[in-house]
Structure formats: C-alpha cells, structure tokens
Amino acid sequence: MDLEFGAAEEDFRAEARAWLAAHVPTRPLPSLETAEGFAAHRAWERELYEGGWSVVSWPEAYGGRGASPTEWLVFEEEYYAAGAPGRVSQNGISLLAPTLFAHGTEEQLARLLPPMASGETIWAQAWSEPEAGSDLAALRSRAERTARDGGGWLLNGQKTWSSRAAFADRAFGLFRTDPEAQRHRGLSYLMFPLDAEGVTVRPIGRLDGKPAFAEIFLQDVFVPDADVIGEPGQGWRAAMSTAGNERGLTLRSPGRFTAAAERLRRLWERQAEPARGAAAGRVADAWIRARAYQLAGYAAASSPADPSAAPPSSVNKLFWSELDIDLHETALDLLGPGAAEIAEGLPGSVWLDGWIFALAGPVYAGTNEIQRDIVAERVLGLPRGR
C-alpha cells in the first residue's frame, strides 16, 4: 500500500499546473447561472478543450487524453487549486457521457461527444417532474412511437428542476414509452434539443434569484431513433448507471473539496481571537473530511475494478453534500457580519455563492433521505420499508 505518484503522474500534474497557471482567468467569471456568465463559461470550456484539458479521462478520439482515474484526480486537484471556473459542461461530461460510453452506439459517441467536450453543446438534465422528484419512477412524461421522418418518438409532458436548462442547448432524460408498464419498467432514455419545436423552457430562480434551473414543457417534440440511448424500455438501467456517477466521485471531485478546505484554512489563519479559537475545531474537521474524501478517491482509482475499494455512491453523496455545506458555513462564520451576506463584489463573496450552491447538494441527485434509505437497505442489508 502506498500513496506515491508515478513519474508519469507527476509529469501530468506539472503539465496541468503550468497550463492552468497560464490560462485560468485572473478575475472570476460572472456567475454561470446568468446569460452573460453562461457565455463566458462556454468560452472557457472552449479554451480548456483547445488546450486538451476539458475531458482528460476520455479517449483521444473524442477530445480527451485517455487519462487514468488517478490522473483525472490529479487534474481535478490542480484545476480547483488554481481557482479555475466552475464547469458549465458538468451535466454532459459527468452524467450523460458515462451513460453514452456504457450504452451508446458508435454513431452516438462520434456525433455527441466532441461538441460536448468543446462546449459547443451544453447539456441540461431532465429527470424530475412535478409529481416525480425523489420518487423518480413515478414519472409520467411520455414518448410515443411515430412514423414521422423515418421513425422516432413524440415527447409530451413536463420536466422540472432541470439544472442549466435556462441557457443550455440540449437535454437528456427518461420518458415513459410503454404506458402499460409500471414504475421502473417501460421507460426510455432520450435526448432532445431545447430549441426544438414544441419545447418551452421556463427558467426558475434559485434561492438567490439566478435562473439555475428551469421547467421544460414538451408538446409533440420529435426525437429520432438515433437519439434514444440503449434499448427502448430499458432506460431505468441506463439512468441508474448515470445516477451512480452523479452521487459518486465524478460529479463532485475530491479536488474541489481539498482546494476549498485549504482556502478555509488560510482564511482561518488570518483571523484574530476570539473567532480563531472558536472556529478551530470546525476548520480542522473540514480539512480532515476533505482529506478523507481525497484518500477515498485514491483508493477507488487504485483499484477501479474492485467496487469494494471505494465507498458506495450513496455513501459518497451523503458525505460530500454535507461537507460542502459545513465547509462554506464555517467560512461565512469567519467572514463575520456584513461580509457573510454580500454575495457579489467582495473578496469573500465567493464563499456565499459557494454556500448557496452547496445548499442544493442534499436535495438533488436523490435527496439525502433517499440516500440514507439506500445505504441502510443495500449497503447494510436492513429490511425494506419506511
């Protein structure tokens, strides 16, 4: 057992660090949850892509570097330590792409992945519906067979809480293709353009008013067969492979938390008493937990074929979502009155923005209550039921 990076990994780290030092914007980009900020973040994705850093773990054929899981962790550490912008392409890269790699056709990979890598196509997720939140299998939006344009599907229904949908280009989600089938059966995984005929997007302001998510209304929206992922009717299985990614390491990489914990530690060091002494335990706990998450990532990357080497994805999600809030709340407490409530324009404002972002963590991707049920039943083996 060891924690030594190999020479190739050290070279990779040095190369990433040098590129990021030369390219990361010196002034933070405007919030990606605004039209202006979205465009700026899309341009940043393009710059990352041209440097070869937007999707390091993908095969070279699709714009990646074929980086190993350990190299991916190294890149993420360097990325967030450099203070680089949040990834507006996250939904596509972390959620859709793994599903495509597992269930997509060669044609789909070749057509969809390169524009995803370059930021030309930015994806929104379309899972939840007004009556299907934590209980996703209750979803009602349907896709019906049509002979139109050589064969495909017509989407009807409503999706909601679709992150990035206010400004994104395309969306992916689950639709009921067999109206007779119940719950997890008879669902299909489909993709559609957000500017297609019959699509209406109504942005929803999140807690700070920014349109971070949206409702999507669908009326006879045509989807060709080429935009179904996997077999029709088998969408649940494909979606759950994505859900594992959403709850696991790839969506919230350890580098994000180790960088934030280090910034928190530096913020704490600059404090005077009594704030310094009062917050010491929480700052230390944030560092310890970020380090634990980083080490769990190394364990997972060391043994990618052995699922027991890494925490189950629901365990992960509980851990990082609560760490994210604790870490940012500790920073806000250190910033003190005034500074802690000003979301833009002060050096410390990044902490409030981060806190608002973190607050959604225990809710999205399956609430933490659902995750605790999953841990209890599937990890610990407790009897089903509530």
Partner: protein, 320 residues
C-alpha cells in the same frame, strides 16, 4: 499509486481474525474484568504467535521489520473483537525499545505484556497485567518506580493507574507515541465497525408494531450515518499508517486526522448502538456494550479530539 491493502496484508488480517475468533475474545474480556487474566494472556500469546509484535521491530533487532500498515490492520481486528489488555501499548513499546538491550526479546514472544502512561492523562492502562510499566513524560521514557491505586474504568476490562517515573530508559519515544496513536485509532475503528454490525443484526431481528424495528426510517437513517463516518475514517487510517511508516507521500497530518476521525466514527457508532438497541443496550450484561464502553475510552486515549484537531491545524504529526 496503489492505495488499497495488498494481498499479503489481507491474508495476514484473515489470520488475525481466525486467531481472535478462536480465542473467544469477549469471554476473555469478561474474565479480564473479573480479575482472571489467563484467557486474555493466552489470546495475546496466540496473536504474538502470528508475529504481531515483530511487525513493529526491525529485523536486526529480532523482529520482522517496520510494518505500521499491517499493524493497523491487525488492531482494527483486535478492536472489532474487543480483545482485552494493553496490546497497543505493548506493541508500541516494542517499537520504542527495539534498540534497547534485552527488551525486544522480552516483548516479542507474547509472554509479557507491557504498558505505558498516556502523557496527556498520566494514566497507564492495565498495569496489573503488565510485567513492565513505563512512564512517558516530556519525550522521555522511564521505568515506573511506583504506582497509585488501580482504578476501574468505564470499560470493565480496563484498569488505570497513575505511575511515578523511576529510571530513564533509552527509547524512540516519537515512534512510541505515533504507534500508540495509530493503533488506538485502529482499535476504535474496529470497535465502531463491530458496533454497527451488531446494531444492524439486532434491529433486523427485533420486532415491534409487527415489523422489524430496522425497517423504520428513523432507525435506518441513524445507522446509515454511522456507515458513512466509518467508511471515510478507513482511508485516513490507511494514510496514517503510511505516515507512521515514514512515507514521504503521506501527509504528516494524516495521523492526528485519522485518530480524530476513527474515534469520532466509533463514538457515533456507540451512541447509535445504544439508541437502536433500546434498554438492552444500556445493560452491563449485553456483550456488545463492552465495545460501546471501550469506544468511549479510546475516544480520549492517545489523542483527544481537540489535541488531534490542533495538530492538524498546526501541521504537526502527533496530537499533544
């Protein structure tokens, strides 16, 4: 990088588990509590027979080498089993006294147990069971010249006494403290895992309102939280073992971080076990409560939460 236990380590852990389960550790702990030390001593001889203390002593001193990761893995098992006695202290002393004449032979064979005062408290665990009692004070190790009254602890299979320093003994006290901290954290993690497993087993079987109490969400969620804490304490323990081994790639803060995280996870496991067991978890006679009580003792031994957090913030490798 290969940050997962290798096949040799896993095989060794299986051996330790087999020895422990064959020795009836909780029965030995009950006997130990009642003053009959023979089953506990026999258990230690069996463990020493697997080479356990030798993993803390270099080959040229008669041991097997310096293997903190394997030791930590073995002490997760002694913690899980609830094995009684100053086992961590004995192994930490074997490491510290590896180059001090006559001590390696005495401590490697499994015939002798030894103990040492935790510098933060001044108390030594189980001096009545130890042939050799030491005092660690301000970086110097002394043979104890005398001891105060032996006091019972919350864990009935643990007794404590304050000791007065006598003759100084040359020793690697840094290694002593590092190993005592690491192995205490390991035992805490093992005890926490056993408390979670015992709680899961109990709530799956215990029925109220016509269904297993483990099917209620309020119970499930508490146990899920314990599973999360234990899961993320484990990689810290592994990294701490590498830091103690002297690996430059480990962070020096990993040892105090691991002690804080393992102790915290075990403490949460104990509190949760108490709650989900209902009244039976509050009894002396229910065996799992031996671990419940031990978890609280390990929580403050060889590095309190505050000492560990301070060390993490100051970048120090040891809690004060």
């Amino acid at each position: 990088m290969r940050f997962v236990p290798g096949p040799d380590q896993l095989a060794y852990v299986r051996t330790v588990r087999r020895v422990l389960s064959g020795a009836g550790p909780l029965k030995a702990a009950r006997a130990w509590a009642a003053g009959d030390l023979a089953p506990g001593r026999a258990l230690w001889r069996s463990l020493a027979g697997t080479g356990l203390p030798g993993l803390a002593v270099p080959e040229e001193c008669g041991g097997l080498g310096w293997y903190p990761a394997e030791l930590a893995a073995a002490f997760v098992e002694t913690g899980r089993a609830g094995a009684p006695g100053p086992l961590a202290e004995t192994v930490a002393l074997a490491a510290a006294l590896a180059r001090t004449p006559s001590w390696p032979e005495r401590l490697l064979g499994g015939e002798e147990l030894a103990t040492v005062t935790d510098p933060a408290s001044g108390y030594a665990v189980d001096p009545r069971a130890a042939r050799a009692v030491f005092v660690l004070r301000e970086g110097t190790l002394y043979l104890a010249a005398g001891q105060g009254p032996v006091l019972p602890s919350l864990d009935p299979a643990r007794h404590l006494a304050r000791c007065a320093p006598g003759e100084a003994v040359p020793a690697d006290t840094g290694r002593l403290r590092a190993l005592a901290t690491l192995l205490t954290a390991a035992q805490a993690l093992g005890a926490g895992e056993a408390l979670l497993a015992g709680s899961v087993e109990y709530v799956a079987a215990r029925r109220q309102f016509g269904r297993p109490v483990g099917s209620f969400q309020a119970v499930k969620h508490q146990l899920a939280d314990v599973a999360v804490e234990l899961e993320f304490a484990r990689p810290l323990l592994h990294a701490a073992a590498l830091a103690v081994r002297g690996d430059a790639a480990a962070d020096p803060r990993d040892l105090p971080a691991a002690k804080a995280a393992c102790s915290h996870a075990a403490h949460l496991a104990a509190r949760t076990a108490l709650q989900v067991h209902g009244a039976v978890g509050y009894t002396d006679e229910y065996d799992l409560t031996l671990l419940l009580r031990k978890a609280r003792c390990l929580y403050t031994s060889w590095g309190t939460q505050d000492a560990c957090r301070s060390a993490v913030l100051a970048g120090r490798p040891l809690p004060d």
